[in-house]
Symmetry: C2
Subunit: 420 residues, 2 copies
Amino acid sequence: MVPDIAEYVRQLVTGARAAARRIASASSQVKNDALVSMADGLLTAAAALQGANRKDLAAAERANLSPALVDRLTLTEERIEKMAKGVREIVALHDPVGEVIDGTVRPNGLKIERVRVPIGVVGFIYESRPNVTADAAALCIKSGNAVILRGGKEAIHSNVAVYEVIADALESAGLDRNCVQMVNTPDRAVVDALLRADGFIDVIIPRGGEGLIRAVAEKATMPVIKHYKGVCHVYVDADADLGMAETICMNAKTQRPGVCNAMETMLVHEGVAQEFLPRIAEKMRAEKVELHGCERARAIVGDMAEATEANWSEEYLDLVLDVKVVGSVDEAMDHIARYGSAHTDSVVTRNVVTAQTFLDEVDSSTVLVNASTRFSDGGEFGLGAEIGISTDKLHARGPMGLRELTTYKWVVRGNGQIRT
Amino acid sequence: MVPDIAEYVRQLVTGARAAARRIASASSQVKNDALVSMADGLLTAAAALQGANRKDLAAAERANLSPALVDRLTLTEERIEKMAKGVREIVALHDPVGEVIDGTVRPNGLKIERVRVPIGVVGFIYESRPNVTADAAALCIKSGNAVILRGGKEAIHSNVAVYEVIADALESAGLDRNCVQMVNTPDRAVVDALLRADGFIDVIIPRGGEGLIRAVAEKATMPVIKHYKGVCHVYVDADADLGMAETICMNAKTQRPGVCNAMETMLVHEGVAQEFLPRIAEKMRAEKVELHGCERARAIVGDMAEATEANWSEEYLDLVLDVKVVGSVDEAMDHIARYGSAHTDSVVTRNVVTAQTFLDEVDSSTVLVNASTRFSDGGEFGLGAEIGISTDKLHARGPMGLRELTTYKWVVRGNGQIRT
């Protein structure tokens, strides 16, 4: 229990601000030392982490959490090893801090550069999986930011145990323990106070269900980088290679249906619907995918449920797929503009004009041609690790890695220039 | 008078959204045609613009506006020519839309690019000068954005007249009139409704006094890019060339004191204070600069007012200067961190270590060594024209030009890749 929330939050944010000023100029070597020591520490502390995790699991049982949630919460030895491995992968990534983005010499001799610098203080609010704690902390350390972590209450004992390892690792590398801080109470008033601490926290990154993210976005007085949901489309064009379309659609829907870059709606050009729909429907059903169709799709494949207006903007995160027949790439793009979530949309076509039109005009974070929506991911894009995905337009769009945890400043070198 | 504000704002934002989708893929040629026709149109309409302006000037007289405000409001023939010239300068700038920021081929053959695209719909809220209307509209058109303009009520007739020229120019180039829209009522309820239209307006850029900007930032439910004020510092180091320091400080304070990149506080190392302070004080006084000093500064230059705690964070925008003697670059940087506005700060020194420390550790949008703070400006940095200055950390920092009115999307080209 926290006796005085305002004072607790004041200490968190002033501690973070001071730590941010110091870690901003820490060398890659020092930051990597902390990360290596953190990875080692996670392995050494495996038994203690599992002990803390058992308290969360016992509470989860008492609270009757679903088996899926309990599974996500569980820290096995293998998962702890994976967590440590994830941290070591971040050690190997390029440190973006100090990078000169561009530079020029002005006619008056001023040398002007834009130099990458850490954002400052990140607030990271997330749900139940304890491995996210290690991941997020490691990304913030590597990018020179201080971070305040607030995990789900279901994982609080596990998170605090992981946090102790992180703080010790920071100290052993000569960094401030406060570079990473963990909210150690489930009290929501603490979150509310953090969300009003603009001036101390530079950006909030929420990760979890749509409800959590909406609540954070509404209350926060500082910038929030977020995505609400992924209503991803694959448009099978009249000029598609239907074999390729089938492979891509099956992968996009069934390879991992519970994630934000899985396909939720398949749009099929009327020119190929008669041929394509029966065969994809059969394949989908073999994988136990429930289909909802528009009127025209249902005229071709009889035993499909009727797609309601609300269905088109739903993120199922499950083996459910909406199917619509469209008359043109324009109609497909209109549908995406209206019902999509600006996350990830793909076109399957052999027609280079159609492909370019789709890539140019669909206003989503990620647009693909002839590839599965499932590739929209920091790891797959080569970012190494991702702190989240943004469907916002400003600062970062799509998968966010280390670079997206930085900003820049203008550095100007002169030899006495004045303005006339 | 607007009978139904909700309906009026709904039309504005849906019109902007639809126009944004179209102008996003307009070619540079078409956008430039619109701008050239706008520049021509401003000159052709000069008499009509001055006629509309006279209504604003008459109202200003009735409202007893200050001579400075009336001057800013006045559209002379020369100013109209300057406005047209400003638009032609934007024609000549590089169009950032479509630029490939970076790209890579993944081991599985996927070709991944980040491509610059317009943000979408910009809301631009500003104060009295009518030339800003033409400037902002031209920058948004060139960067492929739709914009909703809301100028000060003092300039409403002038702004609407300038707007008519813009809308005709858009149309003559085959673009949608709604690419630029102008709020034609001073009713503040319209602004309030616009600030709640997230989902339609992607970003709000306010430009004006601190009061306007704070009100906008508090009410807006979408991202806001802004700067509240410029409390800019020059730190004269122990190793400064004092002649250079004098030139830079005089320029930073007196060349144009009413703007946000003018110096408000001068920090002087104790090692040179005895020599430097009397000579700079004399020069400042010759330019009618009122000086406020810390205790140590006043011990050296007797007839200086005492600087109060509140003074250190004030943006005077006038011939007033705070002076403080510090013991080290660290003390100077602590002062800047505490009282500064993260806008623009400069160090004068011959010591390369001190210079680098200052450039690295001062967390401001622009940091300079041996140059006047007055250079912190889009034009001076080579951006061509600026839509504003940001002291925020996300998306854009410092002067914002065309590039800062864009975002990016991930474009992925495959040949049937699926994720395994």
